[in-house]
Symmetry: C2
């Protein structure tokens, strides 16, 4: 069971690259894909989602590419996960738009609702800035 899927992983790697040498540059997917060692087309799709979520900005045409649109300290792993792999939930019952027939009579609910929030908080507390920080 893994919580962070490949697309989120790829997205995080790309964001870390962008956050690292932050000259305000625009990054072309080809370069990001090479450096992060991930499939280019797939990464592009993934970055498009980050764009829609307002985490990065895209620019078309020559000299185009992707660019952080926020301070890395303000981008959490949760933001990225949700942008890229959808809402985080302990299980189906807690998913937006799905819910559960049985929700109001369910014994499992009460405790798990807390667990879900804890998980959300957890991933909200880790930011790209921290991930990009060099280790000693």
């Amino acid at each position: 069971m893994e919580l962070i899927r490949r697309n989120t992983d790829y997205a995080l790697r790309a964001l870390v690259l962008m956050a690292k040498d932050r000259t305000g540059d625009v990054y072309v997917v080809t370069r990001l894909a090479n450096e992060a060692r991930v499939p280019e087309d797939f990464l592009r799709k993934t970055l498009q989602r980050l764009d829609k979520a307002g985490i990065i900005e895209s620019k078309r045409g020559p000299k185009g590419g992707f660019q952080l649109s926020k301070d890395p300290a303000r981008i959490s792993v949760l933001d990225v996960m949700e942008a890229v792999q959808g809402p985080l939930a302990v299980n189906r019952c807690f998913l937006k738009d799905i819910g559960c027939d049985n929700f109001n009579r369910c014994e499992l609910k009460e405790k798990l609702i807390g667990a879900q929030q804890d998980m959300v908080d957890l991933f909200k507390s880790v930011t790209i800035r921290e991930l990009a920080a060099e280790r000693g």
Copy 2:
């Protein structure tokens, strides 16, 4: 993205049923499946995993079935998740037997390792007894 899969969900429901009216009885899968409203054959497979993990015991033959082999207060949701859907990990790098080529040089690692432990603790802290407790 959901963390608790269907098989774990089914397992939890069955365990809660067993924990509730605890007469030491043995439960036949057919009954559990009906009451929990889950596919019988699939549930049986799932219960076999719980058996191997030592969470329940199986008895064959007439008057056979499944039975809790532990105090429900000593069965955590984590136990069930791991028995039924495998080890819990934030991502592949942290999975037993897989690891990651890049593990020692990875910036993502440090923070996520903490997140993983927090999640484990979280699910370890919720037990079947609590799930089975009637709500007021």
